[in-house]
Amino acid sequence: MLKTTPFHERTAALCVSHAWRRWAGYVVASSYELTHEREYHVIRTAAALFDVSPLYKYRVEGRDAAKLLDLVVTRNVQKAAVGQVLYTPWCDHAGKVIDDGTVARLDESTFRMTSAEPNLRWLQENAAGLDADISDVSDDIAALSLQGPAAGAILAALGAPALKYFRVAAAIIDGIAVTVSRTGYTGDLGYEIWAEARDAVRLWDAVMDAGRPYGIMPAGMLALDMARLEAGLILIDVDYVPARKALIESQLSSPYEIDLGWTVSLEKERFNGRDALAAEKARGPAWQFVGVEVEWNSLERLYSEVGLATRLPNATWRMSVPLYADGGQAGYATSGGWSPLLKRYIALAHLRSRWARPGTSLEMEMTVEHRRKRASARVVKKPFFDPPRKRA
């Protein structure tokens, strides 16, 4: 049997679509309503509540906790202030990305790390000789993600303190001890609330009650996937193959190749993959991870040629789609779809560096009425959607 999250009692009652999907061994709602459309729009207009409990969570504490995490991840953890959250990937010794997630400094010597894949063994192996205690708290901590322009007002109504972008603090919500971080996976104003699993249902009720005047809605993974595409955020197993699962060399990615070069803190003396990453930075990455926009006129033409109105995907697609430039294959898109907000057909793509500059003309493969065609596209800057409220 699959596991259910600590919120299941509430989410199951709300999931009228019966559309569930798996996430790290748990079932979570794909959409609560019969279609995910309203759930998507509420992220950008009011506030959406996501159950993100399936994330893997580790508590790392001890005198050397910062040292251990510094050794594991690419960002500089020792420099992180108490109350700061870092988004970061981590690499194997060859500098290839194993996973990505967040590291929150809860106090001087206590951290919470989140990840998409299990990492207990990896952390333990790296902790040899260090004074750092690692516990897997994945099942003990329930997590909610409250995303959208009204998220701040709802949290204020709940009595939680105001937080800056990528900060974390303890709070009491309806008598429940929680930590709140200003983080999320939507590229919008948003917060994540972390609580003991036993308090989950009460927390859900408190947030929903406080959010009702602001138009809160529970939202599922389909809506989240559209928002993260607009935000240009990479997704493990979809946009990149983690090093542990790669079967062949060419499936591996370095942080530089997936647009996470900004997270690599080469000034750190020692961390996993440092030497390989320094060398790669010096010679420049072979691949880059970029935004791509399909040109509307070209798309419309392909459909009108067969007598159809332009068809658009109504959810984010996840597959490898070839991209061409200068008569050959220049790369491949891994996620894409229509942004109802931006009214643009967008995609995230891996391109060989020489074709990765914004403005570069490309062609994307499209299957139109059973035939493979190519639509004109170009490289554009990510994120596709980046409202000032995200950081304000």
Partner: protein, 525 residues
């Protein structure tokens, strides 16, 4: 008198595969089988009315996909059903299960050790890569590094180039697998005793070695190469039992025009000078053919059918030294009701997979200790399946057949095998298993015990070794069965071997039969 291009001695699955490939290439082929049915150790028999047993070998995984494809075995009746789980019941009433669903499996492993649950995927991926690295070797005749034959040197060069092409990391892992014991290798990955016990069991099957004996890590990999529909590490049960694998290959051979004669026991291969010319049947009949292929094991082929006096001394002594040391037995039960395991008493999906009595590496090593000194393991390792759970036609409705692979039961038993010792083995197995499934003893309608001595007597496998010789590195690849004679040829012109005693070894694989046919046809495998 009818003329044949080739006579195959022994209608085991490899002999049949060889015959099918030769017939497919237009050769006139005759298969001679001593018993009343073909299949050798891959056969199904109604031992007790209404209950059909895969008497000896009982699972399919290593059967080469190209054989299934090229001989169109599904068209000839082969239907492989997946065995999707392994349950290891533990003495304290707990259990360890390995499920095919990734999430379910990870969760179950994490119940015992979160670290092991994480390591499991990485371990699986590594062995997958190693199996891929080794796989090209299975389908080809092994080159002899001592040879000056340009063809062999070319193969060797290709092989060397191939291994140089492996990532360094993989080469290191491969070297470890070739040299370490299964227990030591698993210690590098896992901490859970039940998991290590169950995984190490695949390292000892068919050998008189324990999980702590060096070289057993390779056997572990050998079993990882099970491949179904291109999916590594997938084991299956052939609908109708393993006899249906042989039946499908036999049907393919006959469809291509091969002739199969049962109850035709070959007593001798006639050699004129250094050339094989004919076989002699028990009744004295002589059948001639320019090519004789023996599916029998190397000892029976050379020391039995040919005779030492006809062989070069060096070769004869290599064959004498080739090790069999059968160490496993089978107990087949007809049951009035399904077993109720204390750890999972209700009938459920666990009964459609394998059940492994392997609670720890220590348990297996102790079982080996008994066998090392010539005794039946007091607490044996067992690999159990319930074929009737997958294919209800194996037993009357509501009733079941249970196939129990048992190790160790040494061929060289102190005082020798007798009816009393056979029953003692049966009692040991049933008593041990009843500790885990208390209703078992009372549910038994019929019990069949097959000792290594029985395997030798009935199927003709020397010392009852299920792989026609131990799968240990000193007799693998270009050393199987003897240095310089690993390419299915023999020092006798016109005499070939096609059994599991040649590269790549045992398991219901068919590779030796196919490779031998390719060698005879002068084709590249």
């Amino acid at each position: 008198m009818k003329r044949y291009d080739a006579i195959i001695v022994g209608g085991g699955h490899n002999g049949l595969a060889c015959a099918a490939y030769l017939a497919r290439a237009g050769r006139k082929v005759l298969v001679l089988e001593r018993r009343e049915r073909v299949g050798g150790a891959a056969m199904t028999e109604e031992v007790f009315p209404g209950f059909r047993f895969s008497v000896f070998s009982y699972v399919v995984s290593l059967l080469r996909p190209e054989i299934i494809r090229e001989l169109e075995l599904p068209r000839h009746g082969l239907h492989i059903l997946p065995l999707e789980s392994t349950l290891t019941p533990l003495p304290d009433g707990n259990y360890l299960a390995q499920w095919s669903d990734h999430d379910q499996n990870r969760r179950e492993l994490a119940r015992h050790s979160v670290r092991d649950a994480e390591a499991y995927d990485e371990f699986g991926l590594l062995l997958h890569r190693m199996a891929r690295a080794i796989k090209p070797l299975l389908g080809v005749a092994p080159p002899d590094p001592g040879s000056l034959d340009p063809r062999e040197l070319l193969d060797l060069w290709r092989l060397g180039r191939y291994f140089r092409g492996l990532p360094e990391k993989d080469l290191h892992a491969l070297w470890k697998l070739l040299t370490m014991s299964a227990a030591d290798y698993l210690d590098e990955w896992f901490e859970g005793e039940a998991l290590k016990g169950t995984k190490s069991a695949s390292g000892i099957i068919g050998t008189l070695l324990g999980p702590r004996s060096p070289g057993t890590a390779y056997v572990l990999l050998h079993h990882y190469m099970g491949e179904l529909d291109g999916v590594f590490r997938a084991w299956g049960f052939a609908r109708g039992g393993n006899g249906s694998v042989s039946a499908a290959i036999a049907a393919a051979a006959q469809a291509h025009g091969a002739e199969i004669r049962t109850q035709a026991s070959v007593s001798k291969v006639l050699v004129n000078g250094s050339r094989a010319t004919a076989v002699v049947l028990d009744g004295g009949d002589e059948l001639r053919a320019p090519i004789i292929v023996s599916g029998a094991d190397p000892r029976r082929t050379f020391l039995g059918l040919v005779g030492e006096e006809r062989l070069p001394a060096e070769f004869a002594s290599a064959i004498r030294r080739y090790r069999f040391r059968g160490s496993s037995a089978k107990v087949n039960l007809a049951l009035a009701e399904p077993p109720r395991f204390t750890c999972m008493p209700e009938p459920g999906p666990h009964l459609r997979g394998a059940i492994s009595i392997s609670p720890s590496v220590d348990y297996l090593e102790r079982a080996y200790d008994d066998a090392k000194y010539g005794e039946i393991s007091r607490r044996p390792y067992m690999d159990i399946i319930l074929p009737s759970m997958l294919d209800p036609t194996m037993a009357p409705p509501g009733k079941h057949v249970m196939s129990i692979f048992v190790q160790y039961a040494p061929y060289h038993l102190n005082g020798g095998w007798s009816d009393a010792r056979r029953e003692e083995l049966g009692d040991t197995v049933v008593d041990t298993l009843t500790e885990y499934a208390p209703n078992l003893k009372g549910a038994i309608l019929h019990r069949q015990v097959v000792t290594p001595a029985d395997i030798e007597r009935i199927v003709g496998l020397s010392e009852g070794n299920i792989f026609q010789g131990e799968l240990t590195l000193q007799q693998m690849f270009f050393l199987r069965p003897a240095p310089a004679w690993a390419r299915y040829r023999t020092p006798i012109h016109g005499l070939y071997q096609c059994g599991a005693g040649t590269h790549p070894g045992g398991g219901v694989m068919g590779a030796a039969g196919r490779n031998a046919a390719m060698e005879i046809l002068g084709a590249r495998a």
